[in-house]
């Protein structure tokens, strides 16, 4: 075991870890925002909403994230030369950068998986509780905010924690589109120092720490959500 390279690469390792965290948090946040309506649409929506929602979940859960990532980044990228004026437009700085593509790809993936989870969660809230809400004069929105969503979330909290851990472990895919998060930094270290074990072990350690943080965070959240009624 030799760790002489650690000092030299410490800044890159830190910025890589930070990039991993940013990618994970943004993907899970935006993904969850999308997952709630996607889940709800499948349970309660008219066909015009529920069918596209189901198709979205099936498509994005049924294809490898790596392919989605590459289709977005290199696929769209191959179209740019044919779009006039795109390089002088104000969105070009974002389109040329790889990070926004990673965010979009991971967000859609999270939305698809968690949308499916939320579908089950909304469905499993006992009908009687919803009827009780309606009987006490709640509007549909009040019903969602006060009963349906909290009860649904309460049931799937542990599953969501698991999904977030899985998403964390998918983030190394971003390195393939030049987003050098912690795994990508590890690759650079391996290629430049010809040391294999040490960088890989270090990075495995970083992932374990991040997973630990997620587990503790969700444990805390679970305790904050009011316990099942009764």
């Amino acid at each position: 075991m030799e760790w002489y390279w650690l000092g030299e690469y410490a800044p890159k390792l830190l910025s890589g870890t930070w990039l991993t965290i940013q990618l994970l948090v943004m993907a899970v946040f935006f993904g969850m925002l999308l997952a709630i309506p996607i889940g709800l649409a499948q349970v309660t929506g008219p066909k015009i909403f529920s069918l596209p929602a189901r198709a979205f979940c099936t498509t994005f859960r049924g294809t490898p994230l790596l392919i989605q990532l590459w289709l977005l980044y290199y696929g769209l990228g191959s179209l740019f030369p044919y779009m006039d004026g795109i390089r002088s437009s104000f969105i070009w700085p974002y389109l040329r950068d790889a990070f926004p593509y990673a965010i979009v790809a991971f967000t859609l993936s999270v939305a698809a998986y968690e949308g499916e989870i939320m579908r089950g969660a909304f469905k499993n809230v006992p009908k009687g509780e919803l009827e009780a809400g309606i009987a006490s004069g709640m509007s549909r929105f009040q019903l969602l905010r006060r009963i349906w969503l909290p009860r649904a979330l309460q049931n799937v909290m542990p599953t969501l924690a698991g999904e977030m851990v899985l998403t964390l472990k998918a983030t190394p895919l971003a390195a393939t589109i030049t987003v050098y998060e912690i795994f990508g930094v590890g690759t650079i270290i391996r290629q430049e120092t010809y040391r294999i074990y040490e960088p890989l072990l270090l990075i495995a350690g970083v992932y374990i720490c991040l997973t630990g943080v997620i587990v503790v965070l969700f444990h805390w959240l679970e305790n904050r959500v009011p316990k099942a009624s009764g």
Binding site: Y74, G77, S78, F80, P81, R87, R96, T187, I188, Q191
Partner: protein, 254 residues
């Protein structure tokens, strides 16, 4: 394979005998495995390629007869040190490690690192022209080291492989790519590659190394003669005349 080997050894041995008598010929070792466009063996067993022509030109400039001795790549240096051959002309890069065992002539080629950018771009080999630009490189290469060392005011984008940075150069996500001229040539000849052209050669011996030279025994009196011959074919235009059909850049590397 075994049969081939014994034939090669046989021919090498007979050449040694011949050379032992006359000493007039210079025995040049080369691995017959194809390394296009530098050297390859034709169906009839004839060696051909850019490097073969250059070696012939060097021999002609020295007024010496040269014979090729086909030797496996990893046997070239042992063959040289054990006096079975007199020189190695086989795209062997001059490295410190090899200099411990053998000597080298001056370089006769060095595929230069080049900066490639869209045709209408103002980017050049001058570091100032890359200020604020996105430059793509393959990760953990001497090219990446060069950009880090000389083009500090540019944003470096590292790619796992070569096709990926060419793809992003084509799409316009990056403003330029720094890479090996030999490796960039197929891209520049492709349809996508028409977007772009070589904007300049990049030089830094400390980063890229000196290039490819003729491998020689330590203390060999051929060294001065071969260096003079390389200078001569460089000066009289032979080198450029041979190189032109093979490469769309300066293979000598400035």
């Amino acid at each position: 394979m075994k049969k081939l080997k014994s034939v090669l050894l046989g021919s090498a041995a007979s050449l040694v005998l011949v050379a032992g008598v006359s000493q007039a010929e210079i025995r040049i070792g080369i691995d017959p495995a194809p390394y296009l466009p530098f050297s390859a063996e034709s169906a009839s067993g004839q060696l051909e390629g850019w490097e073969i022509q250059i070696a012939d030109a060097i021999c002609a400039a020295m007024n010496e007869d040269c014979v090729w001795v086909k030797t496996a790549w990893d046997g070239l240096i042992p063959a040289l040190t054990s006096n079975k051959i007199d020189a190695i002309i086989n795209s062997m890069s001059i490295t410190e490690e090899r200099m411990k065992t053998i000597d080298f002539s001056n370089k006769y080629y060095n595929t230069p690192a080049v900066i490639v950018a869209p045709k209408d771009s103002n980017i050049s080999a001058d570091a100032a022209s890359t200020d604020g630009m996105y430059i793509g490189v393959q990760v953990a290469t001497t090219h990446a080291n060069y950009v880090e060392a000389h083009m500090g005011s540019a944003t470096i984008k590292s790619y796992q492989n070569f096709d990926e940075h060419n793809q992003d150069l084509f799409s316009g996500r990056i403003d330029a790519v720094v890479g090996d001229s030999m490796a960039m040539q197929p891209f520049l000849e492709s349809t996508e590659g028409q977007c772009c052209e070589i904007k300049g050669d990049l030089h830094d011996v400390a980063i890229f190394g000196p290039g490819v030279g003729v491998g020689l025994r330590k203390g060999s009196d051929l060294k001065a003669k071969i260096n003079a011959a390389i200078d001569q074919i460089r000066a009289d235009g032979t080198f450029d005349r041979i190189s032109k059909p093979f490469f769309n850049f300066d293979i000598y590397g400035g």
